[in-house]
């Protein structure tokens, strides 16, 4: 009886009580704090998405008036971008896994890591306060001069919320870069790192280099709005387009903050479930860095119709096509990894397949909007909305859910129920496509974004989209239920339930507080399944 209740000590049961969570500096616990926080914001943003889709079910604006509708899509965008997508994979999975993948006991700056979480929370609460006080209607893009001069809503509070959350992102990026540079285990060279780490390194570069520019831009918006300093006000000699340049200098690379970590997840999943080393490891690694670098050179493609010089637009258009190359390298290499692999179809792999397909569609339609002439036609239509949802929801969110299932046993020590998980992955894939594919058609036919009423002939496609959103909502709620259920009733997980190669699988599930009993030494390349098999047979022989 006594021996049966003796449980191994790990990071979850090392300490109990609220204080042990709110003051923790353990990267794994902070990862879980983030997980809870962004799940909350995801549901909140989802409520606004639901309201948008409900309004668009019928052609006239009958659910709300246009002012309220403006607030719906603004809050949906602000919450989803700044408080869910930007922190999603890096702050939860990245936080939890990067120290383990590099064989360290924690991130380089554990207290700073906790501070980042509090900053995200503070920014989120401030924006939520603005939401309840009366909302904001500028769109998540805060375009001037509307945001600085004309809007009567809580622009400053919301922008300040995003500003504070930005510092959370900066500190997370800084922590990742230093950790990856300075904390790698003996023998773990750069080219032995899992690709998850490479893609987070690239994303961290963008967080560190881009976010401060957004921060100062939001400060200027607040100053302009509060004191009319004239910087974005044409009446005083200022230039509203300068705002767009500064805003997109961050906000375009921010797309890569969202999608690069997702690509890292997919590399791990594709390799693990086809039991092959990622094809062209070096190319995949460097394509992450290339995306981060090129990402800073394409912001002007958001401004083709905003009086930007035609020559600038030509260059931005050309460079935007250029970004497609490293993205395509990844897709081709994942596909090549599958070739002659022993593929198995566990839930994470289903999400990986979903990602590859949907990301490819999102990327290819990105080429449409990067083309100057086509963009003039589809700019500010649902085509653009569909395009970036294919990247952010079809890409990032699929990768996030795939990664969450893959590392769930490691994080919680419990297995998720495979049948339900497969079902929900399928529901999400179908629901996603039903929601967003009609939006490509709508946009191409001329349905503008951010309108709450529309002509009758668009209704069929809008009804399809709303029906898809309902399916998608069910798809998201199923994992919410069974993942919580699994915490108590899930099957206990072994150290390495999927037979994966990363260092994080070499320690128990859930891991001990300092991750490893002995600092691991790395003697082989990443994704070396033969070495893993040898280690296991050796383990059997010795043990």
């Amino acid at each position: 009886m006594i021996t049966a209740t003796v449980e191994q000590k790990h990071y979850l049961n090392a300490e109990y009580g609220l204080k042990s969570w709110l003051l923790t500096t353990d990267h794994k616990r902070i990862g879980l704090l983030y997980l809870g926080t962004i799940t909350f914001f995801f549901l909140l943003g989802g409520i606004f998405a639901t309201l948008i889709r409900l309004e668009l079910l019928t052609p006239p604006g009958d659910l709300t008036n246009s002012e309220t509708y403006n607030k719906f899509f603004t809050l949906h965008g602000v919450i989803m971008v700044f408080f869910f997508l930007i922190p999603s994979i890096p702050a939860t999975l990245g936080n939890f896994l990067i120290p383990m993948m590099v064989g360290a006991r924690d991130l380089a700056f554990p207290k700073l890591n906790l501070l980042s979480w509090y900053l995200l929370l503070a920014g989120g609460l401030l924006s939520m306060w603005a939401m309840f006080a009366g909302g904001v209607d500028t769109g998540w893009t805060f375009y001037t001069p509307y945001s600085t001069t004309y809007s009567n809503t809580y622009v400053i509070a919301t922008a300040l919320g995003a500003f504070i959350a930005g510092f959370s992102s900066i500190l997370t990026g800084l922590n990742f870069i230093v950790t990856i540079h300075r904390m790698r285990a003996p023998g773990l060279t750069w080219f032995r790192l899992p690709l998850f780490v490479w893609s987070h390194y690239a994303a961290a570069l963008i967080m560190v280099l881009g976010t401060p520019v957004l921060a100062v831009t939001l400060v200027l918006v607040a100053l302009e709005r509060a004191f009319r300093i004239g910087i974005f006000d044409p009446a005083l000699g200022g230039d509203p387009v300068l705002f767009q340049h500064l805003f997109w200098f961050y906000s375009h690379p921010a797309v890569y903050i969202m999608v690069l970590p997702g690509m890292g997840v997919i590399s791990e999943l594709v390799s693990t479930f086809s039991r092959r080393r990622v094809f062209g490891y070096g190319f995949v690694a460097f394509s992450s860095v290339a995306i981060a670098v090129y990402g800073f050179l394409v912001w002007g493609h958001h401004m083709f119709v905003s009086s930007q010089s035609v020559y600038a637009s030509l260059v931005f258009s050309f460079l935007s096509f250029f970004v497609a190359i490293p993205s395509a390298i990844k897709v081709f290499n994942w596909t090549a990894t599958l070739y002659k692999g022993s593929i198995s179809y566990e839930t994470p792999m289903l999400y990986a397949f979903g990602f590859i397909g949907l990301f490819t569609m999102g990327g290819l339609t990105g080429l449409f909007v990067a083309t100057l002439g086509v963009d003039v036609h589809v700019h500010d239509t649902y085509f653009v909305v569909a395009h970036f949802h294919y990247i952010m929801v079809g890409g990032t969110l699929m990768a996030y859910l795939g990664g969450l299932h893959f590392w769930w046993p490691k994080m919680t020590g419990r297995m998720y129920p495979e049948g339900w998980a497969k079902l929900s992955a399928l529901v999400i894939f179908l629901g996603f496509n039903l929601t967003f594919f009609p939006q490509f058609l709508l946009g191409y036919l001329g349905m503008p974004r951010r309108y709450h009423a529309y002509p009758d002939e668009f209704q069929v496609l809008h009804v399809l989209s709303t029906a898809g959103a309902s399916v998608l909502a069910v798809g998201y709620l199923i994992p919410l239920v069974y993942l919580v259920w699994s915490l108590r009733y899930g099957k206990r997980a072994t150290a390495n339930p999927f037979g994966a190669t990363g260092l994080e699988w070499k320690t128990s599930s859930p891991p001990p507080t300092y991750n490893f009993d002995v600092t691991p030494a790395v003697t082989h390349e990443a994704y070396d399944y033969r070495a893993l098999a040898e280690e296991e047979t050796e383990g059997v022989r010795v043990g």
Binding site: L209, V213, L223, I229, G237
Partner: protein, 220 residues
């Protein structure tokens, strides 16, 4: 006991060696400074755009700034960087007294800078050159002149905020030095705070010519 516990008591649990810890802190500070460059970079970009659009008004507005006070402040800051270096050197050589004296000197010089800056700002207030409802400009294109002063206040204000934070950090270091927390083997906080202090100085080295000097030859 493992060897970890035998290292310096300042060694945090997640680092293997004191050297690794110092390396990490230094790299972290450098990356933080890069983010600061990008932060100020947005303002420098705005300044560049508007100066290029409105060179004449910017030159005239620039002449309103007090070059003597700005020049003195530049000298004060450069001297404070010198005392900061001496503080780091004292820490490296294990001189607790030297460290404390030089930290105090650096903080005093920082305060002198802020006081002078305060007088300059106050003068702008008296002259109705603060952007906003009370802004008044005799010359042509008052809106463009106000843009100059908006950028002037945003940039010097943000810089002064960084000075205040810097003085706060130095007073923390002073307390730690007084408690005898630093030694020849462990002085990383002094080192990284020094990096920060020099960075704030360098921002000023760019602000001073851009705001005070660059329009001088248009005078008259």
């Amino acid at each position: 006991m493992d060897t970890h516990a035998l290292e310096s008591p300042a060694l945090r649990h997640h680092f293997d060696t004191a050297e690794q810890q110092k390396d990490a802190s230094t790299l972290g500070m450098w990356i933080f400074l890069v983010t600061e460059i990008m932060f100020f970079g947005g303002l420098f970009a705005g300044y560049t755009v508007y100066r290029q659009l409105y060179p004449n008004v910017f030159a005239a507005a620039s002449n309103e700034l007090d070059i003597l006070l700005g020049g003195v402040n530049t000298a004060v800051l450069i001297f404070s960087s010198f005392t900061m270096v001496l503080a780091v050197w004292s820490a490296q050589t294990g001189s607790r007294k030297g460290l404390m004296v030089n930290l105090v000197l650096t903080m005093l010089l920082g305060l002198v800078f802020l006081v002078i800056k305060g007088f300059e700002w106050h003068h702008k207030w008296v002259m109705h050159e603060i952007p906003g409802a009370s802004f008044h400009w005799e010359g042509p294109n008052p809106g463009q002149a106000q843009l100059f002063f908006s950028l002037y206040f945003a940039m010097t204000g943000l810089h002064a905020l960084h000075m205040v934070v810097g003085i706060g950090i130095l007073s923390l270091l002073l307390y730690m030095a007084w408690r005898g927390r630093f030694s020849r083997d462990y002085y990383t906080p002094v080192d990284t705070a020094g990096l920060y202090w020099h960075f704030v100085d360098i921002i000023w080295i760019f602000l001073f010519p851009l705001l005070y000097l660059i329009g001088r030859h248009h005078h008259g």
